[in-house]
């Protein structure tokens, strides 16, 4: 899969741990930057920089609300990533479903003893 430069590539944007944390927080609802700063315990310029990267790839959008700017997750930019990993994820889901069946059988055997 071809990759663009870091800041324009949703894959890389999401791979950065701090940005994932920001997405986790925003996934629960809109937040102003001050709230993100407080919850992450990071300096505001650092949070702003991450938000800028996320906005550049379309993973986060922003709206004005009075004097505040509220950030939220925009799922459209993330969908290609979901699509890309879903086949591999399905493989593991099936595999681990089958593993669970094996484990359940072992558990029943052990309990019968």
């Amino acid at each position: 899969m071809a990759r663009a430069a870091t800041t324009t590539d949703a894959f890389n944007a999401v791979a950065e741990p701090r940005r994932r944390q920001i997405l986790d927080l925003l996934a629960q609802g809109e937040l102003p930057v001050t709230e993100l700063v407080e919850r992450l315990g990071l300096a505001q310029p650092v949070v702003s920089k991450h938000l800028r990267v996320l906005r550049e790839v379309g993973a986060v959008s922003v709206r004005e609300d009075g004097r505040q700017r509220l950030y939220r997750v925009d799922g459209r930019a993330l969908k290609p990533i979901f699509d890309w990993v879903s086949g591999y994820e399905a493989l593991w889901s099936q595999r681990l479903d089958a593993l669970e069946a094996v484990v359940t059988r072992l558990k029943e055997q052990e309990e019968r003893r």
Partner: protein, 165 residues
């Protein structure tokens, strides 16, 4: 986090890693056993993608493993590697190489797979960390799981979404 937490969750926390986690309603020594005993691995490793035809496991540090599966589409796929670390019921670290016909094994990229088993209240969380030598290898591995997977399940999509977002 919701309670429909049964399906595997896949997350991409770094561009050269894959994390897969899954919870089992069983103590960890049983999950470990199911992952390290040839006759048991044979029953689950293929998922619904094919029939596992051979499982060899030399369960000691430095020992080799090799799994072969005949995929539903008729072709054969094989993986092998070496045990690097073994803590019974807790953790295995192995290398893993996908065998490509005509390519010498030493030229194929190996991943380093760390599987941990954590038990709490009789339930076990199994985590698979696939450390790839490069982002390109990571991408290739994920792309290799795409066949037959695209239309398979929007549930899977949702799980991934939950892991990523």
């Amino acid at each position: 986090m919701t309670s429909t937490n049964r399906a595997a969750q896949l997350t991409l926390q770094a561009d050269d890693q894959i994390h897969i986690t899954r919870e089992f309603d069983a103590p960890r020594h049983l999950v470990y056993r199911a992952c390290t005993t040839p006759d048991l691995v044979r029953q689950w490793w293929g998922g619904q993608r094919g029939v596992v035809t051979s499982v060899e496991i030399d369960l000691r540090v430095g020992g080799r493993w090799r799994y072969v599966m005949t995929a539903n589409e008729g072709f054969e796929v094989a993986f092998h590697g070496e045990f690097r670390e073994l803590v019974p019921n807790e953790r295995t670290v192995t290398t893993e190489v996908f065998e490509m016909p005509g390519v010498p094994p030493e030229q194929l990229p190996a991943t380093l797979n760390t599987v941990t088993f954590v038990e709490a209240g009789g339930r076990t969380t199994m985590t698979v960390l696939v450390q790839c030598p490069s982002p390109d290898v990571r991408d290739a591995i994920i792309a290799s799981g795409m066949e037959g997977g695209m239309n398979e399940s929007y549930d899977a999509l949702e799980q991934v979404a939950r892991g990523l977002a």
